[in-house]
């Protein structure tokens, strides 16, 4: 899962960046409205955490501009202005959820998680596909026999993306875009390596290879 964090307060931004990364997301940080609007349109983010009080362009305007251009990326608004009037305006502009400052990181993570699942069309709660379950808090995999399996950060991101999009054809470049951050070294061949590692853990039949096209997760067909 790749997120865009838009926060102009440098100290809070870097802390959040760190916390979100720790929670298993690939995170890009943007500190002003104009930059955020451009990056949000260019890069295929899975979710954007948007502060409303931004320099150069207000967050609400950025959000409604995205929506006007048909960019339907899920957006969680993060703001210190917590009046209901502003909440209503935020949702009207196209937000998916709203977190008021000050917040605790667990609250933000829970909201992000819920929105991601809702946008992927799955029911909120634990992520469970076929007979495997992903414990998102501990970044662990729970297998059929309740056996827990630790995952590396990249393995976790990749598997979560697969599990949120079961039965969909996912190309290697798409996986790369959603698993890595903007400035990370993107080598799509590395995806093959990670897919193979995942197959060793969850069994080879759950991730199928479509030659020349990409991968499909799950026993949909």
């Amino acid at each position: 899962m790749r997120l865009l964090l838009v926060e102009d307060d440098i100290a809070l931004g870097s802390q959040l960046h760190h916390a979100l990364k720790k929670a298993g997301y690939a995170v890009d940080l943007s500190t002003d409205g104009v930059d955020a609007e451009a990056v949000g349109d260019l890069e295929p983010y899975d979710l954007i955490v948007l502060d409303l009080g931004l320099p150069k362009r207000p967050g609400l305007e950025v959000l409604s501009n995205w929506r006007k251009r048909g960019n339907q990326v899920p957006v969680v608004i993060l703001t210190a202005r917590g009046s209901w009037q502003e909440k209503v305006e935020g949702f009207k502009a196209g937000a998916d959820d709203y977190v008021g400052k000050p917040f605790q990181i667990n609250e933000l993570l829970a909201r992000i998680n819920a929105v991601l699942k809702r946008s992927a069309g799955s029911v909120a709660g634990t992520l469970k596909v076929e007979n495997i379950t992903l414990d998102e808090d501990k970044q662990e995999l729970i297998l059929q026999n309740d056996q827990r399996q630790n995952l590396t950060a990249t393995e976790f991101r990749l598997l979560r993306y697969f599990m949120l999009h079961p039965g969909q054809l996912l190309s290697k470049s798409k996986l790369t875009e959603h698993v890595y951050e903007y400035d990370e070294d993107k080598d799509s061949n590395v995806i093959e390596v990670y897919v193979n590692r995942l197959r060793q853990i969850i069994g080879p039949e759950l991730i199928k290879t479509r030659r020349g096209q990409g991968y499909v997760f799950g026993n949909s067909d």
Binding site: Q85, F91, P102, I105
Partner: protein, 446 residues
């Protein structure tokens, strides 16, 4: 202080009455003087005419050629009379019949005018003149009844007075219209200020005569200044809150640091402090907004506001799947600040959604004022406790789980509208029932 209109009317009325009375007096005096003078002139000429027909014969007998004096002196009591007399004899006109005018003789060259009661109660003006004719001293008197003339003058007096009074009334009417017209801009300003009070406009209309425009200008300048100040202080309060809350978020993040994370006691007391601080900021920010609101009374589109709010809440509670229904009475109207309404209903609906199993309802009713009723099907806080809380007054640092701050803000808003906030158990849904009654002064239809 009496109204300007009355004062202007009285002033004008008194001066008009004084002017017209004076004019009436002068005209009346002039007319009676003129007619009397004219009459005297005529009587003097008659005296001279009379003298020409007076003669003495050889035996010193007084003789009058009465035929030459005209028929009017022949008809009895015609109102025109003459008398000629010497110390020994006298002769009267036939019109006098058997009555007599008691007159004194005059020396030659003398003249007197006097008023006498004549026959038949007539009032006579008499001119007496003394002459010397054929060596005899003769006194000649000619009299005329002035009653017909006086009656004419009286009729004229009445007519003149009547015209004056009608004129006075017409002038007063015209003046009243002029005053009303001149004061119309003031009435306009009053209507405008009422609108301002209801928040339908932000400035007074710049129309009116030159005398009033400076006043409107001054009020508008004051309004603009106050508005600017109010906005500036509101903005700076908002900025302060924004900056502080961002920093509090950072404190929360720092509390996630492994060093603190391993001491859950310290971490939770940091969290608690940041929450309380944030609640204080939020509450005071909103309270300051309520106090500083200079333009209450704007009509808010209830339907749209409530629909937007419910849409928002549906999204917030999307994962819980709360069914929120609303019913707004057709003629229910809310005059006030939209933000107040949103804040009040938002907090209460949010609480209801939080505590409900899956159903929340909002009913807006019209009556003596406006009623908002929010019910849920949960088994949240006890109504008795909540009523106690409102009576005791909320404190921002009250750490009521989840609902303290929201209810405190709702309470502040309801108080600022002089309304009442009541908690009870919902008979229809089983959960909490919150009822708000706000007094609403409907727009006057004047």
């Amino acid at each position: 202080m009496a109204s300007l209109k009355t004062r202007l009317s009285w002033g004008l009325m008194l001066s008009l009455i004084a002017l017209l009375t004076l004019q009436w007096l002068i005209v009346m005096y002039a007319i009676s003087r003129l007619t009397e003078n004219q009459l005297i002139d005529r009587l003097q000429r008659e005296c001279e005419n009379l003298l020409t027909i007076v003669s003495f014969n050889s035996s010193d007998q007084l003789q009058i050629d009465a035929q030459r004096m005209g028929a009017i002196y022949q008809r009895p009591f015609s109102g025109h009379y003459y008398t000629v007399f010497t110390s020994k004899q006298s002769s009267i006109s036939r019109s006098l019949w058997d009555s007599e005018l008691s007159l004194q003789s005059l020396a030659a060259g003398q003249e007197r005018k006097l008023r006498l009661n004549g026959p038949n109660g007539q009032s006579l003006l008499v001119v007496l003149r003394g002459y010397k004719k054929q060596k005899h001293t003769v006194t000649v008197a000619v009299a005329e009844n002035v009653e017909p003339l006086q009656a004419n003058i009286h009729r004229f007096q009445w007519l003149y007075a009547l015209i004056s009074v009608v004129g006075l009334l017409v002038l007063l009417g015209v003046q009243r219209l002029m005053v009303l017209n001149a004061l119309k801009p003031l009435k306009n300003i009053q209507v405008n200020i009422d609108k301002l009070g209801r928040g339908e406009t932000s400035l007074l209309e710049l129309e009116g005569p030159d005398e009033i425009r400076p006043l409107i200008d001054a009020i508008n300048r004051l309004l603009t200044g106050m508005d600017r100040k109010y906005h500036r202080s509101r903005e700076s309060l908002g900025n302060l809150a924004h900056a502080l809350k961002t920093r509090l978020s950072l404190v929360n993040q720092i509390a996630e640091h492994p060093i603190i994370n391993h001491n859950p006691d310290i971490q939770s007391s940091i969290y608690e402090s940041t929450t309380v601080m944030s609640n204080i900021i939020e509450r005071e920010l909103k309270r300051a907004r309520l106090l500083g609101d200079v333009r209450p009374g704007r009509q808010v589109d209830l339907k749209v506001g409530i629909a937007e709010l419910i849409n928002t809440l549906r999204q917030i509670y999307a994962s819980k799947g709360v069914n929120i229904t609303s019913e707004v009475a057709l003629n229910a109207q809310f005059f006030g600040d939209k933000e107040d309404l949103m804040e009040m209903l938002g907090n209460l609906l949010d609480n209801a959604c939080k505590w409900s199993r899956n159903r929340v309802s909002l009913t807006v009713m019209d009556g003596e004022g406006i009623f908002f009723i929010i019910e849920d099907d949960g088994d949240g806080a006890s109504a008795v406790d909540l009523n106690m809380l409102t009576r005791r007054g909320f404190r921002a640092d009250e750490s009521q789980p989840g609902s303290g701050l929201g209810l405190a803000i709702v309470n502040d808003i309801v108080e600022s509208y002089n309304g009442t906030l009541n908690f009870s158990r919902s008979a229809a849904m089983g959960g909490l029932r919150v009822e708000i009654k706000l007094d609403q002064f409907k727009e006057k239809t004047t």
